[in-house]
Symmetry: C2
Subunit: 151 residues, 2 copies
Protein backbone atom coordinates (compact mmCIF):
# COMPACT_ATOMS: atom_id res chain seq x y z
CA UNK A 1 0.00 0.00 0.00
CA UNK A 2 2.24 2.80 -1.22
CA UNK A 3 1.12 6.15 0.07
CA UNK A 4 -1.46 7.81 -2.09
CA UNK A 5 -1.81 10.81 0.12
CA UNK A 6 -1.06 14.05 -1.68
CA UNK A 7 1.17 15.80 0.79
CA UNK A 8 4.50 17.48 1.04
CA UNK A 9 7.71 15.61 0.36
CA UNK A 10 8.29 15.54 4.07
CA UNK A 11 4.92 13.94 4.69
CA UNK A 12 5.38 11.35 1.96
CA UNK A 13 8.74 10.32 3.39
CA UNK A 14 7.37 10.08 6.92
CA UNK A 15 4.33 8.10 5.81
CA UNK A 16 6.40 5.65 3.81
CA UNK A 17 8.61 4.85 6.76
CA UNK A 18 5.59 4.72 9.06
CA UNK A 19 3.71 2.30 6.83
CA UNK A 20 6.67 0.00 6.38
CA UNK A 21 7.26 -0.03 10.10
CA UNK A 22 3.68 -1.01 10.82
CA UNK A 23 3.65 -3.62 8.09
CA UNK A 24 6.77 -5.28 9.30
CA UNK A 25 5.34 -5.68 12.80
CA UNK A 26 2.16 -7.03 11.26
CA UNK A 27 4.15 -9.56 9.29
CA UNK A 28 6.14 -10.64 12.33
CA UNK A 29 3.01 -11.15 14.38
CA UNK A 30 1.37 -13.09 11.59
CA UNK A 31 4.32 -15.43 11.59
CA UNK A 32 4.83 -15.77 15.34
CA UNK A 33 1.48 -15.67 17.08
CA UNK A 34 -0.53 -18.39 15.35
CA UNK A 35 2.04 -21.10 16.21
CA UNK A 36 2.22 -19.86 19.80
CA UNK A 37 -1.53 -20.23 19.98
CA UNK A 38 -1.74 -23.59 18.24
CA UNK A 39 1.15 -25.29 20.01
CA UNK A 40 0.79 -23.86 23.51
CA UNK A 41 -2.59 -22.13 23.62
CA UNK A 42 -0.93 -18.86 24.54
CA UNK A 43 -1.58 -15.35 23.31
CA UNK A 44 1.05 -12.62 23.12
CA UNK A 45 -0.24 -10.93 26.28
CA UNK A 46 -0.40 -14.18 28.16
CA UNK A 47 3.19 -15.16 27.43
CA UNK A 48 4.24 -11.63 28.33
CA UNK A 49 2.67 -12.01 31.76
CA UNK A 50 4.20 -15.44 32.29
CA UNK A 51 7.61 -14.15 31.26
CA UNK A 52 7.41 -11.14 33.53
CA UNK A 53 6.46 -13.17 36.59
CA UNK A 54 9.11 -15.74 35.76
CA UNK A 55 11.96 -13.28 35.34
CA UNK A 56 10.95 -10.83 38.06
CA UNK A 57 9.13 -13.07 40.52
CA UNK A 58 5.63 -12.53 41.92
CA UNK A 59 4.38 -9.09 40.90
CA UNK A 60 1.58 -6.75 41.93
CA UNK A 61 -0.80 -6.26 39.05
CA UNK A 62 0.11 -2.61 38.86
CA UNK A 63 3.73 -3.53 38.22
CA UNK A 64 2.57 -5.92 35.56
CA UNK A 65 0.71 -3.08 33.83
CA UNK A 66 3.88 -1.09 33.55
CA UNK A 67 5.98 -4.07 32.46
CA UNK A 68 3.74 -5.15 29.63
CA UNK A 69 2.54 -1.65 28.75
CA UNK A 70 -1.16 -2.31 28.97
CA UNK A 71 -4.05 -0.73 30.79
CA UNK A 72 -5.11 -1.90 34.22
CA UNK A 73 -8.41 -3.25 33.02
CA UNK A 74 -6.63 -5.23 30.37
CA UNK A 75 -4.24 -6.83 32.82
CA UNK A 76 -7.20 -7.84 34.96
CA UNK A 77 -8.69 -9.67 31.98
CA UNK A 78 -5.48 -11.38 30.94
CA UNK A 79 -4.68 -12.49 34.48
CA UNK A 80 -8.28 -13.72 34.83
CA UNK A 81 -7.80 -16.02 31.87
CA UNK A 82 -4.39 -17.23 33.01
CA UNK A 83 -5.76 -17.92 36.47
CA UNK A 84 -8.71 -19.83 35.04
CA UNK A 85 -6.19 -22.00 33.16
CA UNK A 86 -4.15 -22.56 36.31
CA UNK A 87 -1.02 -20.84 35.00
CA UNK A 88 -0.92 -18.05 37.58
CA UNK A 89 -2.44 -17.46 41.00
CA UNK A 90 -3.51 -14.22 42.69
CA UNK A 91 -2.66 -13.48 46.28
CA UNK A 92 -3.72 -10.43 48.27
CA UNK A 93 -0.79 -8.54 49.70
CA UNK A 94 -0.82 -8.97 53.49
CA UNK A 95 0.27 -5.39 54.20
CA UNK A 96 -1.87 -3.60 51.64
CA UNK A 97 -4.99 -5.52 50.86
CA UNK A 98 -5.75 -3.47 47.75
CA UNK A 99 -2.87 -5.15 45.99
CA UNK A 100 -3.16 -8.42 44.08
CA UNK A 101 0.13 -10.20 43.69
CA UNK A 102 0.40 -12.46 40.68
CA UNK A 103 2.35 -15.68 41.21
CA UNK A 104 3.43 -18.12 38.54
CA UNK A 105 2.16 -21.63 39.30
CA UNK A 106 4.14 -24.79 38.64
CA UNK A 107 1.95 -25.45 35.62
CA UNK A 108 2.62 -21.94 34.39
CA UNK A 109 6.36 -22.36 34.81
CA UNK A 110 6.32 -25.71 33.04
CA UNK A 111 4.38 -24.35 30.11
CA UNK A 112 6.65 -21.32 29.84
CA UNK A 113 9.73 -23.53 29.92
CA UNK A 114 8.36 -25.47 26.99
CA UNK A 115 7.01 -22.52 25.01
CA UNK A 116 9.68 -19.89 25.47
CA UNK A 117 12.64 -21.60 23.78
CA UNK A 118 10.51 -22.46 20.76
CA UNK A 119 9.15 -18.95 20.59
CA UNK A 120 12.55 -17.33 20.95
CA UNK A 121 13.98 -19.63 18.35
CA UNK A 122 11.24 -18.58 15.94
CA UNK A 123 11.85 -14.92 16.65
CA UNK A 124 15.55 -15.41 16.05
CA UNK A 125 14.94 -17.23 12.82
CA UNK A 126 12.56 -14.56 11.59
CA UNK A 127 14.81 -11.68 12.58
CA UNK A 128 17.71 -13.38 10.82
CA UNK A 129 16.34 -11.92 7.61
CA UNK A 130 18.51 -9.01 8.76
CA UNK A 131 22.27 -9.15 9.23
CA UNK A 132 23.50 -8.58 12.80
CA UNK A 133 24.54 -5.01 12.04
CA UNK A 134 21.19 -4.37 10.40
CA UNK A 135 19.43 -5.65 13.51
CA UNK A 136 21.48 -3.26 15.59
CA UNK A 137 20.68 -0.36 13.31
CA UNK A 138 16.97 -1.23 13.31
CA UNK A 139 17.04 -1.34 17.08
CA UNK A 140 18.77 2.01 17.26
CA UNK A 141 16.29 3.69 14.94
CA UNK A 142 13.28 2.20 16.71
CA UNK A 143 14.63 3.24 20.04
CA UNK A 144 15.25 6.77 18.86
CA UNK A 145 11.78 6.93 17.39
CA UNK A 146 10.00 5.38 20.33
CA UNK A 147 11.62 7.36 23.08
CA UNK A 148 11.48 10.73 21.38
CA UNK A 149 9.21 13.02 23.30
CA UNK A 150 8.58 15.18 20.23
CA UNK A 151 5.01 16.36 20.20
Amino acid sequence: MPTRYKGTTLEIAALNAFIKLNRSVNALQARLLPPLQKEFGLTESQIAVLEATFHLGPLPQGELCRKILRSGSNVTTVVDNLERDGLVRRERDAQDRRIQIVHLTDAGRDLLMRALPVHVERITRTMSALEPDEQRELGRLCRKLGTSTAV
Copy 2:
Protein backbone atom coordinates in the same frame (compact mmCIF):
# COMPACT_ATOMS: atom_id res chain seq x y z
CA MET B 1 12.31 -4.43 29.19
CA PRO B 2 15.82 -5.52 28.28
CA THR B 3 15.96 -9.15 27.39
CA ARG B 4 16.45 -11.41 30.36
CA TYR B 5 16.31 -14.56 28.35
CA LYS B 6 19.43 -16.68 28.67
CA GLY B 7 20.13 -17.59 25.10
CA THR B 8 22.84 -17.52 22.53
CA THR B 9 24.39 -14.27 21.39
CA LEU B 10 22.43 -14.59 18.19
CA GLU B 11 19.17 -14.91 20.12
CA ILE B 12 19.94 -11.97 22.37
CA ALA B 13 20.66 -9.75 19.40
CA ALA B 14 17.50 -10.82 17.59
CA LEU B 15 15.36 -10.35 20.68
CA ASN B 16 16.72 -6.91 21.37
CA ALA B 17 15.90 -5.70 17.89
CA PHE B 18 12.53 -7.43 18.03
CA ILE B 19 11.58 -5.83 21.32
CA LYS B 20 12.62 -2.36 20.25
CA LEU B 21 10.67 -2.74 17.03
CA ASN B 22 7.52 -3.72 18.90
CA ARG B 23 7.95 -0.99 21.46
CA SER B 24 8.39 1.72 18.90
CA VAL B 25 5.15 0.75 17.18
CA ASN B 26 3.47 0.69 20.58
CA ALA B 27 4.72 4.15 21.31
CA LEU B 28 3.58 5.48 17.95
CA GLN B 29 0.12 4.08 18.40
CA ALA B 30 -0.11 5.46 21.91
CA ARG B 31 0.62 8.89 20.50
CA LEU B 32 -1.52 8.75 17.38
CA LEU B 33 -4.64 6.75 18.10
CA PRO B 34 -6.15 8.46 21.15
CA PRO B 35 -6.35 11.85 19.40
CA LEU B 36 -7.87 10.22 16.32
CA GLN B 37 -10.51 8.71 18.57
CA LYS B 38 -11.16 11.82 20.64
CA GLU B 39 -11.26 14.33 17.81
CA PHE B 40 -12.95 12.32 15.10
CA GLY B 41 -14.32 9.20 16.78
CA LEU B 42 -12.28 7.00 14.46
CA THR B 43 -10.23 3.89 15.15
CA GLU B 44 -7.18 2.84 13.18
CA SER B 45 -9.10 0.21 11.24
CA GLN B 46 -11.92 2.58 10.50
CA ILE B 47 -9.70 5.28 9.03
CA ALA B 48 -7.90 2.60 7.03
CA VAL B 49 -11.19 1.56 5.43
CA LEU B 50 -12.21 5.15 4.73
CA GLU B 51 -8.82 5.87 3.19
CA ALA B 52 -8.91 2.77 1.00
CA THR B 53 -12.35 3.51 -0.37
CA PHE B 54 -11.41 7.13 -0.88
CA HIS B 55 -8.20 6.47 -2.77
CA LEU B 56 -9.33 3.38 -4.68
CA GLY B 57 -13.06 3.99 -5.05
CA PRO B 58 -15.84 1.60 -4.02
CA LEU B 59 -14.33 -1.75 -3.11
CA PRO B 60 -15.57 -5.30 -2.60
CA GLN B 61 -15.07 -6.35 0.99
CA GLY B 62 -12.66 -9.01 -0.10
CA GLU B 63 -10.43 -6.38 -1.67
CA LEU B 64 -10.66 -4.41 1.53
CA CYS B 65 -9.42 -7.43 3.46
CA ARG B 66 -6.29 -7.57 1.38
CA LYS B 67 -5.74 -3.81 1.47
CA ILE B 68 -5.93 -3.45 5.22
CA LEU B 69 -4.47 -6.89 5.98
CA ARG B 70 -7.25 -8.12 8.19
CA SER B 71 -9.43 -11.21 8.24
CA GLY B 72 -12.77 -11.31 6.48
CA SER B 73 -14.73 -11.54 9.70
CA ASN B 74 -12.91 -8.51 11.01
CA VAL B 75 -13.69 -6.42 7.96
CA THR B 76 -17.34 -7.36 8.35
CA THR B 77 -17.30 -5.96 11.88
CA VAL B 78 -15.46 -2.76 11.00
CA VAL B 79 -17.70 -2.07 8.01
CA ASP B 80 -20.75 -2.79 10.19
CA ASN B 81 -19.71 -0.06 12.57
CA LEU B 82 -18.86 2.41 9.83
CA GLU B 83 -22.19 1.73 8.15
CA ARG B 84 -24.08 2.22 11.39
CA ASP B 85 -22.37 5.62 11.69
CA GLY B 86 -23.30 6.50 8.11
CA LEU B 87 -19.73 6.77 6.88
CA VAL B 88 -19.91 3.97 4.32
CA ARG B 89 -22.69 2.12 2.54
CA ARG B 90 -22.83 -1.50 1.32
CA GLU B 91 -24.18 -2.38 -2.11
CA ARG B 92 -24.56 -5.87 -3.49
CA ASP B 93 -22.72 -6.34 -6.73
CA ALA B 94 -25.29 -6.66 -9.52
CA GLN B 95 -23.36 -9.33 -11.41
CA ASP B 96 -22.22 -11.42 -8.47
CA ARG B 97 -24.60 -11.14 -5.57
CA ARG B 98 -22.16 -12.73 -3.15
CA ILE B 99 -20.08 -9.58 -3.23
CA GLN B 100 -20.67 -6.57 -1.02
CA ILE B 101 -19.24 -3.37 -2.44
CA VAL B 102 -18.31 -0.76 0.13
CA HIS B 103 -18.98 2.84 -0.89
CA LEU B 104 -17.81 5.94 0.93
CA THR B 105 -20.77 8.20 1.77
CA ASP B 106 -20.63 12.00 1.63
CA ALA B 107 -20.47 12.06 5.40
CA GLY B 108 -17.59 9.60 5.29
CA ARG B 109 -15.72 11.66 2.75
CA ASP B 110 -16.27 14.85 4.74
CA LEU B 111 -15.01 13.27 7.93
CA LEU B 112 -11.98 11.81 6.18
CA MET B 113 -11.15 15.16 4.62
CA ARG B 114 -11.14 16.70 8.06
CA ALA B 115 -9.35 13.88 9.85
CA LEU B 116 -6.71 12.79 7.38
CA PRO B 117 -4.62 15.98 7.16
CA VAL B 118 -4.51 16.25 10.93
CA HIS B 119 -3.58 12.59 11.27
CA VAL B 120 -0.91 12.75 8.60
CA GLU B 121 0.51 15.86 10.12
CA ARG B 122 0.78 14.11 13.46
CA ILE B 123 2.46 11.11 11.88
CA THR B 124 4.92 13.40 10.14
CA ARG B 125 5.68 15.25 13.32
CA THR B 126 6.21 12.03 15.24
CA MET B 127 8.36 10.45 12.56
CA SER B 128 10.47 13.60 12.41
CA ALA B 129 12.30 12.26 15.46
CA LEU B 130 14.32 10.59 12.71
CA GLU B 131 16.30 12.39 10.03
CA PRO B 132 15.13 11.83 6.45
CA ASP B 133 17.93 9.39 5.73
CA GLU B 134 17.16 7.54 8.95
CA GLN B 135 13.54 7.25 7.90
CA ARG B 136 14.68 5.80 4.60
CA GLU B 137 16.94 3.31 6.32
CA LEU B 138 14.23 2.32 8.78
CA GLY B 139 11.88 1.78 5.86
CA ARG B 140 14.43 -0.33 4.06
CA LEU B 141 15.11 -2.54 7.07
CA CYS B 142 11.42 -2.99 7.85
CA ARG B 143 10.70 -3.85 4.27
CA LYS B 144 13.47 -6.39 4.16
CA LEU B 145 12.29 -7.92 7.40
CA GLY B 146 8.63 -7.93 6.54
CA THR B 147 8.90 -9.38 3.07
CA SER B 148 11.45 -12.04 3.86
CA THR B 149 9.96 -15.46 3.41
CA ALA B 150 12.50 -17.02 5.73
CA VAL B 151 10.88 -19.75 7.77
